[in-house]
């Protein structure tokens, strides 16, 4: 029999007091993404079948570059939050859960970094 009392157990394993923030962040990023994905669809239609020069000068436009950077940040953030919930709900092996959670976060931040740096490369003409 463990000497740990139930309250301490609940404090250790229960809510991490971040549920409301997660819930809110998922929806705030969703709202932002409605606009940004709308813009992406416009960009896809504009650039359908475009050659390299057209595509690169489109991304290099400051307004388009700004939209793309915002899109990348919001998209990977929203994906990280969503994948986290899916992992928490369906992966019941605790070690695997922590590993997948880590990979989700690492992949999300890597995606943001790669996306931003390549947009900036085109936008700043490096």
């Amino acid at each position: 029999m463990s000497m740990v009392n139930p309250l301490a157990k609940a404090r250790g394993l229960g809510s991490a007091k971040s549920g409301v923030h997660h819930w809110y962040a998922q929806r705030a990023s969703a709202l932002l993404l409605i606009v940004l994905i709308g813009w992406l669809i416009y960009a896809m239609i504009t650039l359908a079948g475009a050659d390299h020069g057209t595509a690169s000068s489109f991304i290099a436009q400051p307004t388009n570059a700004a939209f793309l950077i915002l899109l990348i940040v919001a998209l990977f953030y929203h994906a990280m939050l969503g994948l986290q919930v899916v992992i928490e709900d369906y992966v019941h092996n605790q070690v695997l859960e922590v590993i997948l959670y880590f990979l989700t976060r690492a992949g999300g931040y890597l995606g943001m970094a790669l996306g931003i740096i390549h947009v900036l490369k085109l936008a700043l003409g490096a």
Binding site: M1, S2, V4, P6, K9, R27, A30, L31, L33, I34, I37, L40, I41, M44, I45, A48, H52, A55, S56, I59, L68, I72, L75, F76, A79, G82, L83, V86, G111, L114, G115, H118, V119, K121, L122
Partner: protein
């Protein structure tokens, strides 16, 4: 401390519940989100990296997107994106406490499905 084995509601997939539009669209929302995270977002990154890397890298990407597997991935991504976008609006409306009765949930569900077909058809019509 021994925890009592309390009864749990059965898992949504299995013989316990009849498949319903609401539950099927809910799981599809998650599945499309996972697909977009694993395939869609990396495709977007690949496009950015390819354009930034020069005409040769861009030709590799357009070559891939023209292949059979590339076309299938593109179609799946656009369909998932359309569904997740439009069904996401339905979820956001629900989050405000509105449209939660069964009849409205089904009507909105059909609107989402029709909207998904229309939006996918428009985007894919231009892209393919």
């Amino acid at each position: 401390m021994k925890t009592k084995q309390r009864p749990l509601s059965p898992f949504m997939i299995g013989p316990y519940y009849k498949p319903q539009m609401t539950s099927l669209m809910s799981i599809t929302h998650r599945a499309s989100g996972v697909f977009l995270s694993i395939i869609g977002a990396p495709l977007l990154l690949w496009w950015l990296i390819a354009v930034a890397s020069g005409p040769q890298a861009y030709a590799v990407l357009t070559g891939f997107l023209g292949s059979l597997i590339g076309q299938l991935l593109l179609i799946a991504t656009i369909v998932c994106l359309s569904f997740h976008l439009i069904n996401g609006v339905r979820h956001l409306v629900w989050d405000t406490g509105r449209a939660l009765d069964i009849k409205t949930a089904y009507t909105a569900g059909w609107l989402v499905l029709i909207g998904t077909v229309l939006l996918s058809a428009i985007v894919l019509g231009v892209l393919l």
